[in-house]
Amino acid sequence: MKFPVLTLITLSAALSGAASATSYPLTLKDDLGRTVTVKAEPRRIVSMLPSTSETLCAIAACEKLVGVDTYSDYPQQVTKLPKMGGLYDPNIEAIIAQKPDLVLVSKYGKLEGPLTQAGITVVAVNPETYDEVFSKTLTLGRVVNREAQARALVTRMKSDIARVEILTRNVVRKPTAYLEIDPTPYSVGPNSFMGVLLTKAGARNIIPASMGDFPKVDPEFIVKANPQLILGVDAKTAGARPGWNSIGALKTGRVVTIPTELNTMLGRPGPRLPQALRGLAKIVHPELFK
């Protein structure tokens, strides 16, 4: 009795797998605008972007990785892989020595030229906006023959996000917030990746969309906007800035540095997006997560 059931499960799994299997050669347009053909299912992949490494591991393609960039540190498995350098100082020789059949690069690097010349397939994948996190996950799934897993991951991420949004969407008091990404100071506009998460976490961003996605902000603008919550600066630094003691967030003590791990997730448009949102929502609305 047991045997046929198992066979049936295996068979249906094989069938559903076959239904969503990528047919190679696969031709697609990558984020550098190049038309690339992936000849067969990649088995030795080098990922040069931390978010790409995370996505591959989240769609059961982690064992295909034979090398990652210096900044890839999640999940644990990738930390043991050979490091191939960073965006500005990639180790091209080391990459070629790994004999990869696919290198996934950032569109901001300059790897595609030399690697293509070396006969290696290169695909640039750069999720930058909130929506792109999902669409690029599906693209990666197609490229590495993990379409079903990619679709399942996207569904899971969206339902995790919905679970946070249910809490934050109808909150009565949404604090006005200023999120500083570097002390020059730069902040994020509402349409940027982090800006979308900030809004979804139940905050009202003081930066209007008209200022762009990563605007340099004039300090007097921040004082005038008088945010109730300041993220990304420590209270001491904020208090030492001229005029900032008059800001509401400083008077009520709602000046919060973002923990390193959460900060990494916020800067990495990948599968941990729901976790990043939850972490941010906990800071914006601690009362909702008691």
């Binding site: 570097d182 340099k216 603008f221 004082v223 630094t237 001229p242 005029g243 008059s246």
Partner: protein, 339 residues
């Protein structure tokens, strides 16, 4: 031929000097008024005046008062101070080296302070430490240049310039290496090397003031000796100018003032090079007018540049000074030569 032209210019300059000086004073005043009145936040003129009054009399500040008194005014004052310092130092360097390409960063001050700031930024030290490390390394860089250029008890100008260029290059390489190691902080370092008056408060102004006053004051006192030096080193020496000591004092005073300024606001380019040249073109080459008038024009220019930086997408004051200052200077140069 050239001497005749410069005589003619000198004569015309002497006649129009009070008028032109008044023009520069007005320019500086207008810069201060506009710089305090305008910004990314609109504050009505009446409120600006009210805020200034409440600030001066030490009353409690509320609403826009904070913006005017604690953010804009110190920023404007810092602009005047730094612009004046850089311009006086630039003028003095051009005079003492008799080299039109000299600027206050000639002997490695800029590269030193950039390296100091970069170390603090990449290491993630508290923001308040940045000016300290920048100042220390700026002064260390100049000391290094002086030691390398020394020839017995003399500091020959060519050796100073060469040593300065080499020290600057070495330090810049170190800075670049550090930036690449701390990639995600590259923008902060870049912003520093382009200069920023954004977070200058009264405390910063009070810290920079002594450097500017001491360095600038000494240079103004040396103006007459610098004039004599323009006749040539031998002539100056025969007229009783202690050339070596003059050179050393000028270098030290200018470096102290420059280091103090750039440590707090970053490496603002071009002001120190261009302002003395503009003043020379308008008023003639004498250092007794050149240095103080450079201070006036430099102060005004930097405040205007900062106003543009904070209200337009040009975003960094160093970008504005170079982007607009360069073409303006070329226009002035062409106009003068066609006259």
């Amino acid at each position: 031929m050239e001497a005749a032209a410069s005589d003619r210019r000198g004569a015309a300059g002497a006649l129009a000097l009070p008028l032109k000086t008044a023009g520069l004073v007005l320019l500086l005043l207008s810069a201060v008024v506009l710089g305090t009145g305008l910004g990314s936040v609109t504050v009505p003129p009446g409120e600006v005046l009210g805020a200034l009054w409440r600030g001066v009399t030490g009353q409690e500040l509320a609403g826009n008062d904070v913006i005017v008194w604690q953010i804009r005014l110190p920023r404007v004052v810092m602009g005047v101070l730094v612009g004046a310092s850089l311009s006086v130092c630039g003028g003095a360097f051009q005079g003492v080296f008799r080299n039109p390409l000299a600027d206050p960063y000639l002997l490695g001050v800029a590269s030193g302070s950039a390296l100091g700031a970069t170390i603090a930024i990449v290491a993630g030290w508290p923001r308040t430490l940045i000016p300290v490390t920048a100042l220390l390394l700026a002064l260390a860089a100049v000391t290094c240049t002086l030691i390398l250029a020394r020839e017995g008890r003399r500091f020959p100008p060519n050796r100073l310039i060469l040593a300065g260029v080499v020290v600057g290059s070495v330090l810049s390489a170190a800075t670049t290496a550090l930036i690449l190691r701390g990639e995600d902080r590259a923008r902060q370092v870049l912003a520093y090397t382009l200069g920023d008056l954004g977070f200058s408060g009264w405390l910063d102004v009070l810290t920079v003031l002594p450097y500017a006053a001491l360095g600038g004051g000494v240079l103004l006192l040396l103006a007459r000796a610098l004039d004599t030096l323009q006749l040539g080193e031998l002539t100056a020496r025969s007229l009783g100018v202690p050339v070596e000591r003059l050179r050393l004092i000028t270098v030290v005073a200018a470096s102290v003032a420059t280091a103090g300024a750039v440590a707090y606001v970053g490496v603002i380019g071009f002001v120190g090079l261009i302002v003395p040249h503009v003043v020379r073109l308008l008023f003639g080459p004498g250092h007794r007018t050149l240095l103080p008038l450079s201070a006036l024009l430099g102060g005004a220019l930097l405040v205007y540049a900062d106003l543009l930086a904070r209200t337009t997408p040009l975003s960094q004051v160093g970008i504005v000074t170079t982007l607009l200052g360069g073409p303006f200077f070329l226009w002035l140069l062409r106009r003068q030569s066609s006259e």
